[in-house]
C-alpha cells in the first residue's frame, strides 16, 4: 500500500463521515444548550436589576428630608409652660409678619411639621443657654413641603388638586430664595418609631422588633431543629413512626405560613395568654416556620458526613454519642448553619403569620424588651404601603431597602461563619 488513505475501507470511511456529521450536530446542540442557560440567567438578572432599580429610585430620596430655617425666639415663658408647638408657630409668623388671618396663619404653620417642636426641644437639650435668646434653627418641614421640594408634587400655583395652597407655594419660594430651605440626611427615618406623619415616621422600632423576633427565633429553632435532625438521622430506629414523622416534617415545610400565624394566635395568645404584638410571640411563630427548614437542611448535612468518619470513630471504640458530638456534628455544622440562615432569612421576610398575632398594630414606641408591643420590618413595609400620604410611597421603598440590607447582612454573616468553620480544616 503506497497511499495510506486508500488503506481505509470505503465502509469505514463512510462511518467516519457520519460520525463527523453527528459530532457537528452534537456540538451545535451543546452550544444551544449553553445559550439557553445563559439567556435564563440574563433574564433573571434583568428582572433583579429592574426590581432593585425601582426600589432604589423610589426609595433613595426618602433618606433625605427637607428642613426650613426659622429664627426662633426661645421665649422662657413658652418653654416653661411647655408650649413648644406655640413657639414654632410664633417663630414662623415672625418670619412672615404680613400674615394676618387665622386661616392664613394655619397655612403658614402647615409649612412646618407638626413635630417641629422636637427640633426646639433638641436645641434646648443641646445648649440650655439659648433660652431667652433668638437663634436661627433648622426645623423639619411638613411632608407636603418635602414632597414639593423633591419634585413629587407640583409647585405650579393655581393647579387643581395641589397639596400646597398658592400662598404656601409663594412662601416656600420666598424661603428658598432666602436660602432657608435645604435637604438634610433623614436621621428620623432610621432612629425613631412609627408615626402618622410621614416626615416623623421612622423604622427603628421595626428594626429593633425584627432583631428581637429573630433572636427568639434563632434561640428556639436552632437547638430544637438540630436536636431533632440529630435524633432522626443518627439515633431513631427506622420504623413506621419515624417515617411518619419524617413525612410530616417535610409537609410542614410546605404549609402556608399564615397557618402558623393562626396556630400562634390560638396557642400563644389565646391559650397561653402571651402579650399581643410582642416580638416574643412573633419569634416563637417564626421559629415554628423555621423548624422544618432547619431540620431538613440539618439532616441533609448530617447525611453528607462520610460514613468512613463514623466507622473510624466507632472502630476506635467511640460511643454513638461521641461519634455524633466529636465528629459528625462539627462536620455537618456548616451545612446546618446554611440551612438555619436560609430559614432565618425566610422568617425575616415573613408578614402574614405576624399579622395573625397582632403585630400589625400601629406602635410608636421603640420596644425595650421582647415583651413590648412592636412592629417588624416587613409589617412596617406593609403598613406604610397602605398609607395614603404621598410621602409614604418613598418611605415604603426605603423600608424595603433597609429590609434588604438587613437580609444581606445576615447572609454575609452566614457566609463568614461558614468560612470560619470550614477553614479550620
Amino acid at each position: 500500500m503506497t497511499d495510506t488513505s486508500t488503506a481505509v475501507p470505503a465502509a469505514t470511511r463512510q462511518s467516519i463521515d457520519t460520525a463527523a456529521a453527528h459530532l457537528k450536530r452534537r456540538y451545535r446542540a451543546e452550544r444551544r444548550f449553553k445559550a439557553v442557560g445563559l439567556g435564563a440567567i440574563l433574564l433573571a438578572m434583568g428582572f433583579l436589576v429592574l426590581l432593585l432599580w425601582t426600589i432604589i429610585s423610589n426609595g433613595a430620596s426618602a433618606f433625605m428630608q427637607t428642613y426650613i430655617r426659622v429664627d426662633v425666639t426661645f421665649d422662657a415663658a413658652a418653654i416653661d409652660g411647655d408650649d413648644l408647638p406655640g413657639l414654632v408657630k410664633s417663630s414662623i409668623q415672625q418670619r412672615f409678619p404680613a400674615v394676618e388671618s387665622r386661616s392664613e396663619k394655619r397655612e403658614l404653620a402647615g409649612l412646618l411639621s407638626s413635630g417641629a417642636d422636637l427640633d426646639i426641644r433638641r436645641a434646648l437639650a443641646a445648649d440650655p443657654s439659648v433660652k431667652g435668646t433668638t437663634q436661627p434653627l433648622w426645623m423639619v418641614a411638613s411632608d407636603d413641603v418635602d414632597m414639593a421640594m423633591k419634585g413629587y408634587v407640583s409647585r405650579q400655583p393655581g393647579l387643581a388638586g395641589n397639596r400646597l395652597t398658592d400662598r404656601q407655594i409663594a412662601w416656600l419660594a420666598e424661603l428658598e430664595a432666602a436660602g432657608a430651605v435645604k435637604k438634610r440626611f433623614n436621621t428620623i427615618l432610621l432612629s425613631s418609631g412609627d408615626s402618622r406623619e410621614p416626615e416623623l415616621a421612622g423604622l427603628w422600632g421595626a428594626v429593633v422588633g425584627s432583631v428581637f423576633s429573630l433572636a427568639i427565633t434563632l434561640l428556639v429553632s436552632f437547638p430544637l431543629g438540630v436536636a431533632t435532625a440529630v435524633y432522626l438521622e443518627e439515633f431513631a430506629p427506622k420504623n413506621r413512626w419515624t417515617a411518619l414523622i419524617e413525612v410530616n416534617i417535610n409537609n410542614l415545610a410546605a404549609v402556608p405560613s399564615v397557618v402558623f400565624g393562626l396556630l400562634g394566635l390560638a396557642i400563644f395568645l389565646n391559650f397561653l395568654g402571651m402579650p399581643r404584638s410582642a416580638p416574643l410571640v412573633g419569634g416563637l411563630v417564626l421559629a415554628l416556620i423555621c423548624l422544618p427548614t432547619i431540620i431538613i437542611a440539618g439532616r441533609a448535612a448530617l447525611k453528607a458526613v462520610p460514613p468512613s468518619i463514623r466507622e473510624a470513630a466507632l472502630g476506635l471504640g467511640a460511643s454513638k454519642q461521641q461519634v455524633v458530638t466529636d465528629h459528625v456534628l462539627p462536620l455537618a455544622m456548616p451545612g446546618i448553619m446554611t440551612g438555619t440562615i436560609l430559614g432565618m432569612a425566610h422568617a425575616l421576610g415573613e408578614t402574614a403569620p405576624l399579622l395573625m398575632i397582632g403585630m400589625v398594630a400601629f406602635i410608636v414606641d421603640i420596644p425595650a424588651t421582647p415583651l413590648d408591643p412592636s412592629a417588624v420590618l416587613p409589617v412596617q413595609v406593609y403598613l406604610w404601603a397602605d398609607s395614603p400620604e404621598r410621602a409614604f410611597v418613598e418611605r415604603t421603598s426605603a423600608a424595603i431597602l433597609v429590609l434588604l440590607v438587613f437580609l444581606g447582612a445576615m447572609n454575609l454573616a452566614a457566609i463568614m461563619l461558614r468560612k470560619k468553620f470550614e477553614r479550620r480544616w
Binding site: I309, A312, L314, G315, L316, Q322, P330
Partner: protein, 258 residues
C-alpha cells in the same frame, strides 16, 4: 479442615454464621487466627471475608438486620457475650479501613482521640508520649514531627493510612483488623504499609482482608480463602500459593474463576 488447639488461637471461630436479613452472608465458618501472625482473608467480592472481619470487632452491630450466630472468641472470651462491652472490645481490636479516613483534625488529635475517649492518659505529658510512640511505631514520626498540629487530611494517601494505623495502635489493641488497607494507595505507599504490617506482627495479631493476592502472599503467614460465604481453605500462605488443596482456591489464585 484441620483445627489448631484453641490455646494457640487469638481469635477462634466455630460454626459462625451471619445473616443480613434473608441473605446468608457467612456460612458455618471455623477459623483460628494465631497470635502474632498476619492472617490474610482472600476471596472474590461478596465472599464474606469483610463480613467475617467485621464480626471480630462487632462492626456488624451497626448494620440493621445483621444477625451473628455461632461461637467467636477472643482469647477464649465470647465476643458476642452479653457481658462484653462493645466499646471495650473495640479498644482491644483496632481497625484500619479501606479508604484512609483520618478525622478532619490535627495529626496529633487524630492519634490522641482514642486514648482520650478511653481515658488512657492521666495528663498531657502521658498523652504526648502515647501519640509519639504510636506515630513512631507506625513509621510516620520522622515525616510529621514538625507538623503535628496540621490537619491529618493534608497528608498523602499512604501517610494518611499510616496515620490511621497509628491512631489504631494508640489505644494498644491486641488485634488489628485491616480491611483492604492498601487498595487506595500507590505501590510505594503500599510497600511502606506492608513493611509496617510486617513490623507490627511482633507485637500485634493482624487480620487483613485484601483483594491483592500478591499482597496476601507478601505480608501474611496464614491465608484463608472464602467463597460464597464459606471458608474454603485455610493454610500456611506458602502452601496456599504453591500448592492449594481445594480446586476453588487453585482456580481463584491462578485467575481461573468462571
Amino acid at each position: 479442615m484441620t483445627h489448631l488447639p484453641s490455646r494457640l488461637a487469638k481469635v477462634s471461630a466455630r460454626d459462625v454464621n451471619v445473616h443480613y436479613g434473608e441473605k446468608h452472608a457467612l456460612k458455618h465458618v471455623d477459623l483460628d487466627i494465631r497470635a502474632n501472625e498476619v492472617t490474610a482473608l482472600i476471596g472474590p467480592s461478596g465472599c464474606g471475608k469483610s463480613t467475617f472481619l467485621r464480626c471480630i470487632n462487632r462492626m456488624n452491630d451497626q448494620i440493621e438486620n445483621a444477625h451473628v450466630s455461632g461461637a467467636l472468641t477472643l482469647d477464649g472470651q465470647d465476643i458476642y457475650d452479653k457481658g462484653i462491652d462493645v466499646v471495650q472490645l473495640r479498644a482491644r481490636v483496632g481497625m484500619v479501613f479501606q479508604k484512609p479516613n483520618p478525622f478532619p483534625k490535627s495529626i496529633f488529635d487524630n492519634v490522641a482521640y482514642g486514648p482520650r475517649i478511653h481515658g488512657l492518659a492521666r495528663d498531657q505529658a502521658e498523652l504526648d508520649e502515647i501519640v509519639m510512640t504510636s506515630l513512631e511505631k507506625a513509621g510516620l514520626l520522622t515525616e510529621v514531627r514538625d507538623r503535628l498540629d496540621e490537619p491529618g487530611t493534608g497528608l498523602s494517601g499512604g501517610q494518611q493510612q499510616r496515620l490511621c494505623i497509628a491512631r489504631a495502635i494508640a489505644v494498644s489493641p491486641e488485634l488489628i483488623l485491616m480491611d483492604e488497607p492498601c487498595s487506595a494507595l500507590d505501590p510505594i505507599a503500599t510497600a511502606k504499609v506492608e513493611e509496617l504490617i510486617d513490623e507490627l506482627r511482633e507485637n500485634y495479631t493482624i487480620v487483613i482482608v485484601t483483594h491483592s493476592m500478591q499482597q496476601a502472599a507478601r505480608v501474611s503467614q496464614r491465608t484463608a480463602f472464602f467463597h460464597l460465604g464459606e471458608l474454603v481453605e485455610v493454610a500456611d500462605t506458602e502452601q496456599i500459593f504453591t500448592n492449594p488443596q481445594h480446586p476453588l482456591t487453585q482456580g481463584y489464585i491462578t485467575g481461573r474463576f468462571g
